[in-house]
Every structure is written in structure tokens, then in C-alpha cells.
Symmetry: C2
Subunit: 285 residues, 2 copies
């Protein structure tokens, strides 16, 4: 009996890259589809065995070919600058009706690179679950990381409609809420609500000095939390979304310079209005 | 029997302004000195009665004169731009060995204004407990708000040594850790770790637009939390600490502009080094 579209229950899933996100997808799918078999594709099977022992995945392998020959879904959960090449490698190693998806925080560059390979276009639906943490590693993976969180799917014009539907169903199995955007819109919006806020957090962290370190309060701790994230991962995000990030950095610097000028000219009316606008926005969340 | 300096246990305390901070001082002192009588000085005694009913203070009054005639300590917990005038009013209404302290987030302007009044200089030790929340109001006050938190005392050169010692002992009763700084150093450091981070948080909140609102994640939520704070309170802080804030805003804008230029010129090495430096700083907290 063939699964009807509304009952997509993958029998076999491969996760390429068993970290916080890959591990959490594995745990979430194993929870919602108890019969599923999840194999982790890792760089070192000996080290990866710990993720079998701790119940993140059912098995691990170092081989894309071995893992992807007979799976329904492959999730690429590697750094954004490596996703496109992995998608293409998996597309060549997997069966014709395999769904390939990813978890990358940038989408335009990935979708564009994949578009050069028809085999991959026929199997790939780019995804970005808006969930994560400054923590890294599958030891922090949880089955509920995506519950109630937005998962953005960014199909291209070439993405088959039934494949997109399967991707939506797959990601719903993790508890996510599906939002569909163009890769370009995704990257523009994420620059403004994630990538540039991250850089602002790092910039704020760098304002501290030895003498002021004892004086930080809970506000500073909140603002700078994400600055503890993996620098290499954030560099890759910046590289992949350069134009949109540069534009939003310009907006942010302009905003801060505007405030500085109000401070200098004692334009308290403008400053108060600006603080109120920011509060109204924040209160709406 | 006169209290020895190491056993300062106030019998009567007045709190001018029963909000989050004033209410938390009241609750903390009542917990550590069960025999104490705490009176709240409020704008409207009928409305203030709720703070008696909910156990924040023992009594309320609208009159500074009535409250301060026979108390050991008066805590000024009003917006920073009103602290100095309240200190002077309380100094005139209180007995000669009364300690007056405050909770304001800025210190230089307050200490300078108070220095014009010898009666107030003899009684006032400026304080800033580094604790708080984006929440306001005594309904959120807790006895443990200051436990383990830094309380900065900023005496002037005129502050009597025994008065400073009494202030240290009073603030220790709240569970705070005492740090002593000059008013100027306090304001410079706080601009870099609190005031400008707050403005950065508001600026980040304002990057969001209607289309991107659905895409915010936990990083954005953390970074922008303090932007929900009271705009009038933060305007007053900006007014009181204008020079230091303007200087730190210039540093922050310069840092963001530097990152933008690295993005533009693809200087990934500099960007990665900068991200690593920020992570090292954040990880040390």
C-alpha cells in the first residue's frame, strides 16, 4: 500500500551531520514515527557511535552512498557553506523518489548552487527551521526543539509541487509550523531578524572592559547570549548572505548614529518616540 | 544599647517610590531584619494600600515629612532625573543620623547635584544595585532580587567614612555584593555595559518588519528583551549620562561599520577574529 500524501511516514531517514539540529531532527522524527530507522552520516563512525548509544540515531556510517541508497528522506545538517555540495552528492547516491532537505540559516546561495544539478533539483526542498541555541553538538539535541517553531521552506520555481508537499509533511512531523518564502525573501528577512542581530550582540559584548566586567546585569547577559555561538558557523552564514547582511548592517549603524545625534543635540522628543516605537514592537511578541 | 557598626539593623526604613526596585528593597530588608518597620512613600495612599495588603511594606504615606522624621534609612527609588531633589527634600525632613541612599542607574549628575546641599551630603551615599528587569511595578518585587548581585556605591570626596560603612552594611542586608567606584567611573562603565546595550537592543528590535515578524527566533527574543523596558525611565537615564552614552554609541557604531566594511571587502579573516574575540568575552561570564 502506497502512503497517501496526508500520511507520509518515512520508513528510513538519513541525517548528514549529527549536531544540535541534525540530532534534534533525528530525535523528533523517531518520537513521531516510532517505526522509523534513522541513520546518521558522520565523519568518524567510531566517534559517532556515541549518538547511537545515547539514542539520538539508530545507526551511524561514514558513507553517503551506503546511507542514502534506500532512504525516504535525507536531512543535510552541515554548515551552510557545505550544504549545496552535500545535496548534489546525496542526489547522485539516492533513489529517485528520495526527498532531500536541509536546516541551513541561509537559502539563496544554496538554492542557486543546487539549481545547476537537475538530479538534485528533482529531490531537494530547502528548509530552515527557526530554532537553535548558542549551544552546539548532538548532546544538546532534543525531540521538541522544533515544536511550535517556524520552519521556512524556500522552493525554487523548479521544485516539483508533490515534492514540496512531502517536505511540508516531513517537517510537520517535527512539530514545526510551515512558512513558504522565496530564497531571496528568506535571506533578506533573516538578515534583519537573525544575522545582523547576532553581529550586534557580538558588538555589544565587545564594549565590555576589564573594569566594567563586574557591572554587567541581566540585560547585558540576555543581549550577548548568542555572541557565544560558533564563530565559524556565523562566518559561513555571513559569507552566504553577504549582500542582505551588509544592507541591514547599514540600517543598524544608521539607527545608532541617529540616536547618537539626538543625544548630542538633546533632541529628547525624538529619542523618546524611538524608544516607545521599539517597545511597541517588542511588546507585540 | 547602640548598634555596633558590624551589626547595623535598622529599626525603621522608608522607601520613596514603591516600584520593582523599591519594593524589592523593602521585601529584602523585611526578610533579613524581621523586626524592621518599612513605610512606603507613595503618590497616592489609597492606591499604595495594595502594597501593604500584599506584604511589600508595613505602611504607606504620601508625606515625606511624616515618613522620614524618625527613620534610620531612606531609600530613594524614583526615576533618576528626580533622585537629587528627593535626596535634598528627605535630608531636610529626617533626623541627623539618617542614612539616605538610592537605586538610580546613573550617579554622576545625582552626586553633583546633591553636593550643593551640605545637609544632604552628610546623609547621602549614592547606590546602584545592578539588578532589575524589563518588568516594572512592585507586583514583581521579590526579596531575593539583589542576592549575589553587585551593588555599586559611589561616594563623593565629602561622604563621611562612617556613613559609607553604614551604607555598605545596609546594602549587604539585601544580599548584594558591594563595589565602590567614583560616580564618573560608574557612569562610564554603565554606559558600556547597560545604557548603550539597551539602545542597541531597541535598534535591533526596530530592524523587524511585518513580513519578518514570523521569523524571529530565540536569539532575537533574548537580544530585544530589554527593549520592552519603560521608555520614560530610559530617556531619563540617557539625559543623566549623556556624555558617556554618546561616547559608547560612537564606539558601537564604529564597530558595526567596521564589520560592514569587512563584509563588503570579503575580509573574512578579520571578521572571524572579531567573532572569536566576542565569543571569548561572552564565554568568560
Amino acid at each position: 500500500m502506497k502512503d497517501s500524501p496526508s500520511e507520509f511516514r518515512p520508513a528510513r531517514v538519513a541525517i548528514l551531520g549529527v549536531g544540535l539540529l541534525g540530532g534534534s531532527v533525528a530525535r523528533a522524527i523517531r518520537q513521531s514515527v516510532p517505526s522509523v530507522h534513522v541513520v546518521g552520516i558522520v565523519r568518524c563512525a567510531d566517534k559517532g557511535q556515541q549518538w547511537v548509544d545515547s539514542g539520538v540515531v539508530d545507526a551511524v556510517t561514514e558513507s553517503i552512498e551506503q546511507a542514502c541508497g534506500n532512504v525516504d528522506v535525507v536531512v543535510i545538517a552541515t554548515p551552510v557553506d557545505t550544504v549545496a555540495e552535500k545535496v548534489i552528492a546525496v542526489a547522485k547516491a539516492s533513489n529517485p523518489d528520495c526527498l532531500i532537505t536541509d536546516v541551513g540559516s541561509t537559502k539563496r546561495t544554496i538554492v542557486k548552487a543546487v539549481s545547476q544539478c537537475p538530479e538534485a533539483v528533482a529531490k531537494f526542498v530547502a528548509a530552515h527551521p527557526i530554532a537553535g541555541s548558542e549551544k552546539t553538538g548532538a548532546e544538546h539535541a532534543t525531540a521538541d526543539l522544533f515544536v511550535g517553531k517556524v520552519v521556512v521552506l524556500t522552493p525554487s520555481e523548479q521544485t516539483p509541487a508533490d515534492l514540496l508537499e512531502r517536505a511540508e509533511q516531513f517537517w510537520r512531523l517535527t512539530g514545526g509550523r510551515i512558512v513558504t518564502l522565496s530564497p531571496q525573501d528568506h535571506d533578506t528577512h533573516l538578515a534583519s531578524v537573525s544575522h545582523v542581530p547576532h553581529l550586534a550582540s557580538s558588538a555589544v559584548a565587545k564594549l565590555v572592559c576589564e573594569q566594567s566586567a563586574d557591572l554587567v546585569g541581566s540585560g547585558w547577559t540576555d543581549i550577548t547570549r548568542v555572541a557565544a555561538g560558533d564563530p565559524a558557523m556565523w562566518l559561513a552564514i555571513c559569507q552566504e548572505n553577504r549582500t542582505a547582511i551588509e544592507e541591514q548592517l547599514r540600517r543598524l549603524a544608521g539607527s545608532i548614529e541617529e540616536v547618537r545625534q539626538w543625544m548630542h543635540s538633546r533632541d529628547d522628543e525624538s529619542l523618546l518616540r524611538w524608544l516607545k516605537e521599539a517597545k511597541t514592537i517588542r511588546d507585540s511578541f
